[in-house]
């Protein structure tokens, strides 16, 4: 297993740049998730790591060795594709054997042993003689993973591997992947647009947007301390409310709906800031509360309720117990959990460092 280092990686087609200056180090046995909306450059980055796309500029190291110019088969990586990319005219067994026979010097018996072993782990021993057409989606998925496993590469690359599965199977396979990573100690780079996959699978998450890396951190850190409004908006559901406020230099935040100014400690605050609050960081006040809002509607989602509240001109979501949910149309007081609240620069969207007690 190995580390992967990306140094100033760029990708451009003609004049337009799709990936810009990506710097990232994936540690040994790490499960790194590249996440972002479609078109953000995450797949291109993965394909550059795989060697399927030329790296326009920058350097790619695997285990300290510069592989920037090496063809895919010499990078010691394996990849699982979104559509599995199993060869339709070969059986599951041959799909797994094909690349192994071509890239390694293993004998047929050795190859066979590896396939049996991988099949055992993935529980697909019975399916080895079948062709992809005769397999279900989940089974194909396992064969595709098996094809990667048998290669015993330094790094595993996954390109949205679960997006073709139905919801239930997806949950199941997520668990499987986590187990594989843990049990076999794999180094994985995993691309997805699904924040839940990112949050649940990754030991670290690299958030991308518009070809640039926005933030790389452990899932909870990203969740709690997004580096900018984009990350804040992408991670978390329902998304974080960003309330446009005015502030003065000393950290006094004002908004029409606030009963009084909110005091946060920070240096050099700009005049216009965005006050970021997640739905679970707000509660309905039994008293007047810090802010005054009006309930627009509420949705029951099982044990909890999501309540949409109007604050002046803006809407925000509040998560609460079903029993606490107020009636639509009623005026409510809101309390913010100021220990978790964050501010963003209204112009640039960058997070503002707050001095926490």
């Amino acid at each position: 297993m190995a580390t992967v280092t990306l140094r100033d990686i760029c990708k451009s087609y003609g004049k337009s740049e799709t990936v810009t200056n990506v710097n990232l180090t994936v540690e040994d046995r790490e499960f790194m998730v590249l996440v972002g909306p479609s078109g953000c450059g995450k797949s291109t980055t993965l394909r550059m790591i795989a060697g399927l796309e030329e790296i326009t500029s920058g350097q790619l190291l695997i285990d300290g060795v510069d592989v920037t110019d090496l063809p895919p088969q010499r990078r010691d990586i394996a990849m699982v594709f979104q559509s599995y990319a199993l060869y339709p005219h070969m059986t599951a067994y041959h799909n797994m054997a094909f690349g192994l026979l071509k890239t390694s010097k293993l004998t047929k018996t050795q190859v066979d042993a590896r396939i049996r072993e991988a099949a055992e782990i993935l529980n697909i021993t019975d399916l080895l003689g079948r062709r992809p057409k005769e397999l279900s989606g989940g089974e194909r998925q396992r064969v595709a993973i098996g094809r990667a496993l048998v290669r015993q590469p330094k790094v595993f690359l996954f390109d949205e591997p679960l997006s073709n599965l139905d919801a239930k199977l997806r949950n199941h396979m997520r668990g499987e992947l986590k187990r594989l990573h843990r049990d076999l100690g794999l180094s994985i780079i995993y691309v997805t647009h699904d924040q839940i996959e990112a949050m649940t699978l990754g030991t670290r998450v690299a958030m991308m947007s518009k070809g640039r890396l926005q933030q790389v951190d452990r899932p909870m850190d990203i969740y709690l301390n997004p580096a900018n409004t984009f990350v804040a908006g992408f991670i978390g559901s329902p998304e974080m409310a960003l309330i446009a406020c005015r502030s003065d230099q000393r950290g006094t935040i004002r908004h029409n709906a606030f009963r009084s100014a909110v005091e946060l400690k920070a240096d050099n605050l700009p005049n216009d800031v965005l006050f970021g609050v997640r739905p679970e960081e707000v509660s309905f006040s039994r008293t007047a509360g810090m802010a005054q809002g009006k309930v627009e509607q509420s949705e029951l989602i099982g044990a909890e309720a999501l309540v949409q509240v109007r604050l002046g001109d803006e809407l925000m979501m509040v998560r609460c117990q079903v029993s606490d949910a107020p009636q639509p149309g009623s005026d409510v007081g809101l309390d913010f959990d100021l220990s978790r609240a964050r501010l963003f620069h209204a112009g640039t969207g960058q997070a503002i460092n707050l001095v926490r007690e």
């Binding site: 394909r47 795989a50 060697g51 399927l52 063809p71 895919p72 088969q73 990586i77 394996a78 990849m79 594709f81 979104q82 559509s83 990319a85 199993l86 060869y87 339709p88 005219h89 094909f98 690349g99 071509k102 890239t103 992809p132 057409k133």
Partner: protein, 298 residues
């Protein structure tokens, strides 16, 4: 490709999901009877020339034009078959036909596979212009330029050789186009996977693309074989001697004599030439249609 085809809504081929009720089956039975009523006469009409060919091949010379003789031969007279084979060396013609048709096919498969792959899956300067140039050939097949091609072959000293019937057809803009369409339908991820599995372009082509576009290759093979197996004009122009001539020329020998065609033997010859192809088609017709279904020509 597998995914796209497997998930396509199946047409007439698949059994109906709901068990047909009795009323429905009655209705469909009436519909099919009605269809047979129309199709049988039309089919008979279509097939009557073939019947005439076979029956005439079994008649005697005088019977053909004798108004009293009727449609069926008075007695089955198989003598025309050996007599036909004696007119010209049909055995040599057969071998030549196979050599010519086979060489053209093999040559075409090689050239169009390589070219179609380049156009479908590779990036290079002047791609569009080159592709247009290839398509140009679709518009100007050899019959429009046979004259200059004849002169060219003459200069190569190839007149009256088997290659003269082969080389002008080795490249096929049409085949390149057809195969390129099919190649473009092969999911890109498959060739990515193959690259990760250590394949170069040629290996991807051989291990991944060719097995997947088999139906297109079969469809193209049918088109090519039928065209060149039956070609008359070009072999007529470029060959002189029996050593290199093909079956249609043998038939022409029987058809184009000054005192009227030698009907009985011509028809015996036609029967000989057509039967293998016909038998082949009757057996494999489902396969042929399936091939055309998957050609990307849709």
């Amino acid at each position: 490709m597998d995914a796209t085809i497997a998930e396509r809504p199946s047409g007439a081929g698949s059994p109906p999901a709901i068990k047909p009720t009795r009323r429905r089956s009655l209705r469909s039975r009436i519909a099919s009877c009605w269809l047979h009523l129309v199709l049988i006469p039309v089919g008979l009409l279509w097939i009557s020339p073939l019947a005439w060919i076979v029956l005439t091949s079994l008649k005697t010379k005088i019977e053909v034009f004798d108004p009293e003789a009727g449609f069926l031969p008075a007695a089955l007279n198989f003598a025309n078959y050996p007599a036909t084979l004696a007119v010209a060396p049909f055995g040599t013609y057969l071998i030549n036909s196979i050599l010519v048709t086979g060489s053209i096919l093999i040559g075409q498969l090689i050239t169009i596979t390589l070219a179609a792959y380049a156009f479908a899956r590779m990036e290079f300067p002047f791609k569009k212009i080159l592709f247009t140039l290839f398509l140009l050939q679709v518009m100007f097949p050899i019959y429009a330029i046979f004259l200059t091609n004849f002169v060219t072959l003459h200069e190569f000293g190839l007149i009256n050789t088997l290659p003269a019937m082969i080389v002008p057809f080795v490249a096929s803009g049409y085949g390149t186009f057809m195969l390129r369409q099919s190649f473009r339908q092969v999911p890109a991820e498959l060739s990515d996977a193959a690259r990760l599995d250590g394949c170069g372009h040629l290996e991807i082509l051989w291990h991944v693309f060719l097995p997947l576009v088999q139906p297109t290759l079969i469809a193209f093979t049918i088109i090519s074989v039928v065209t060149h197996w039956n070609d008359y004009m070009w072999p007529l122009l470029v060959t002189n001697s029996d050593d290199v001539r093909t079956l249609p020329i043998g038939l022409g020998l029987l058809a184009k004599s000054d005192s009227g065609a030698d009907w009985t033997r011509l028809m015996a010859g036609t029967t000989i030439v057509v039967s293998p192809l016909l038998l082949f088609f009757v057996i494999f017709q489902r396969r042929f249609i399936d091939s055309f279904m998957h050609t990307g020509v849709k």
